[in-house]
Symmetry: C2
Subunit: 483 residues, 2 copies
């Protein structure tokens, strides 16, 4: 016999079906009792709002009520009635309560009080039961769905590019090795080196750092594609902005030049933000207040100038600034922190790589808007970016967001075989191993572009969470693969 | 200046804007010429149908037309006119043609003739430019979108469970190791064993075989969740049904019992099929004909009884058969192939594990319908499945599809702490390492269920492709991590 005859709290709050007899299931957040009545705040994860269950001790046995402690899971049947308290339109008059699972108040770690984010990270298996993380993961879901909906509606095709790969051509960072060899005692060739011919893939293999190159193969067949999958960096970075395992969205489009690429990226980011504003109102309101609370402990000049929702609307409604790297260098050279030697890395000449402090200055101090920075020196960008006519720069594009820094990196791709090969040779990238990539330039090449959006950074921006470990369910970082 | 001012062929075929001047971009599939006119069939991947470009040699220079060979990429501007040929409502009268990228007919591997699937697998970087693989990957996209839409519409939340994990508790098969150690010369502890404390995660780590356990954590907070991500098996299986890297969809639902679970699974599969039937008509029609063609070389009794689309409709419109393992054993015992000893593994007694031949008999011969098999002996199923009252079986559920075999595996989960722990101890699964998993039973436990759908097997079923390597862009199998 089917068990799931419950109504979700989200549905009840949408409809307030006064007079109906319904069944709720969910977890106790709090219980307040006096001798005449108990009020139980129940949450089922469908929405941030708790629903109030009213239990009369003449109806519900005392030993049952005793077990309705924070964290316990209940099945409650009763009648929806107009609420007598403020702040809610209806509540449930309990006719029966079944305790599906208890939660010993002496042992359950999530008591109704404030827990630090650090503590909650240690119990990541339970933290989704809190208001903060419930909100974060509902917003994350909404953004993930919006990613798929945006591209599907535009006629892009979702491609699953490989996670395990034998090519590390992009050289985007250190990679994780994937093997089935016995690491304690790997098979050896005659010269003593490890015999990777005996490994699963008969060669060395890694976890992917990007699906871009494979994405290009698909774009040069299906025109417009995107990837949305996990990518990996084995960098020993213990920061609030880095994960060893994170999700990336990488659209690749045939027939797009650098300007088309920037147009798409800006439109896409605004779509995602608007989607969250429309579909996650309660959660964003909660997260906005959480952030205000958190910032109260900071000096006034370090607090956000805008509230969370205000900031999201501002970004969604205003054009991003578009400037070239060369223009940015001029602005930075003349900037106060550069003149007063406040930057850790002073900007002295064209060609300098931009550090986080420079990006933040441009976005947060100078323009106070998202910035699309284009046409970087080719020396500081990847081999596959299209070379501009000046011979010095490439058609790269980075999008910088307030509080986040680089959220998107992309470029028009070099579609001209000779220029691509000569750049690869300059950088000692083996063209023979990349025969398949070069085939797309050899046969039916065309101008094309693409970019990568770090999904967790986007979730951080929309939720206002300061640490990237708090926007992915089970973060992987150096020394941490728990759960 | 933006480059992408083209109209997609899909849009033109939807609208046939007779009289409009438009720009198309795409790849040449074929060219037929006589001295008065050239007909170029152009494809841009947006739809399987080619669009006909008509080029008058008095308008388009001869040296340009010469370069319009199969595989070349063109930008064509012209006027949409009513077509004089049969089979198409309109065509493009070319005013100008720009060859964006040539394709040397002596070297381009995809000439307009029949290529074997084996050959195309070797050039997976180009095969998406063929009709067959264009269709497969458009259908794959549609199914992936349908997965997300189905769950989003139902209020499920998409959770990204970890890819790298230190737990291999499910024991679903051999795992890939993930490491940053130097395999040729790993650091050693004093006793000579590899010192994994110096590895990136400070312990041994693997690629995940399933996101289920982490999915359960999320379901016991948010009620209804699903995962959709890559999973890995390091099994040395060179079959048409196995990949080392494949995508799985794993919904987990609090408050669902075994029957709720089966209801959801059946509804979900039918939704996916109906979505493809509605949204992929041209591609499915093409794939149906491809399959008919392929089966012409088979003996009549090995050909499919139904055409592809007929089969999809049949599955979408009819109830799946639901029987217990015990009933299935009785049917198999009495079956002709068992009595005549035609099965490789004869069914002699209750408790036998079902092989592919038995599953196929039930689905393809006996019921001629998808079958939901439930309540397997606990000995042949995983530790986390809910124990039935008979003390012998668990609330497992496998869904078997014609031609595919097991497409879904799932169960009601054991929510009762004591029963779960004693089963883990029987199977020597370390309960201390699984403290976080057991916490969900310790605090606020509840009946819950879930299942896993192998995405590639679903794509195989819907597209009619016989080899699983032909439904994922860049398959990973033993010895193969190319591209």
């Amino acid at each position: 016999m089917a068990f799931n005859k419950r109504v979700k709290i989200k549905t009840i709050l949408d409809q307030h079906p006064i007079g109906s007899e319904i069944t709720l299931m969910g977890w106790v957040r709090t219980k307040r009792s006096n001798k005449n009545v108990s009020f139980i705040a129940l949450n089922d994860g469908s929405i941030i709002t708790n629903y109030q269950v009213v239990a009369d001790p003449n109806v519900i046995a005392e030993d049952v009520l005793k077990k309705c402690t924070t964290g316990a899971c209940l099945k409650v049947t009763g009648t929806v009635v107009e609420s007598q308290g403020a702040g809610q339109a209806s509540e449930l008059n309990a006719k029966s309560i079944e305790v599906l699972g208890e939660a010993d108040p002496e042992k359950y770690p999530l008591q109704p009080k404030k827990h630090s984010l650090e503590f909650l990270r240690e119990i990541a298996h339970l933290r989704m039961r809190t208001n903060t993380f419930g909100a974060v993961f509902r917003v994350r879901h909404a953004l993930a769905f919006a990613v798929n909906k945006y591209f599907n509606d535009k006629g892009f095709f979702y491609i699953h590019t490989p996670i395990i790969t034998a090519s590390d051509a992009e050289g985007a960072g250190e990679t994780f090795k994937v093997t089935t060899l016995d690491i304690a005692n790997p098979p050896r060739s005659e010269d003593g080196s490890v015999d990777f011919k005996q490994d699963f893939f008969e060669r060395e293999a890694n976890l992917t750092v990007s699906g871009q190159l494979e994405g290009e193969l698909a774009a040069l067949a299906l025109s417009e594609i995107y990837t949305f999958g996990p990518t990996f960096r084995a960098e020993n970075s213990n920061t609030t902005r880095h994960l060893a395992e994170f999700w990336m969205i990488e659209p690749e489009m045939a027939f797009y030049d650098a300007e088309d690429n920037a147009d798409l990226a800006e439109d896409f980011l605004k779509y995602l933000i608007n989607y969250a504003l429309t579909n996650c109102q309660e959660d964003l309101k909660f997260l906005e207040n959480r952030l205000l609370d958190e910032e109260k402990s900071k000096p006034v000049d370090q607090r956000s100038e805008m509230r969370l929702i205000e900031k999201l609307k501002f970004v969604a409604e205003n054009d991003f600034v578009r400037i070239t790297y060369t223009e940015a260098i001029e602005i930075l050279k003349r900037s106060k922190p550069n003149q007063k030697k406040k930057f850790q890395f002073l900007i002295e000449e064209w060609g300098a790589d931009l550090q986080s402090e420079h990006e933040r200055y441009l976005v947060e101090k100078h323009f106070k808007k998202p910035v699309i920075l284009t046409d970087y020196p080719k020396e500081i960008k990847s081999f596959y970016m299209r070379q501009n006519e000046d011979g010095k720069t490439v058609a790269a594009m980075d999008i910088l967001f307030p509080g986040i820094g680089e959220i998107i990196g992309g470029s028009q791709r070099e579609e001209r075989m000779e220029l691509l090969v000569s750049r690869m040779e300059e950088l000692n990238i083996p063209t023979d191993e990349m025969w398949w990539f070069l085939d797309t330039r050899r046969f039916g090449s065309t101008p094309h572009s693409g970019f990568g959006l770090g999904f967790e950074r986007m979730v951080q921006f929309v939720t206002g969470m300061g640490n990237i470990r708090d926007v992915i369910a089970f973060p992987r970082t150096p020394g941490n693969a728990e759960f």
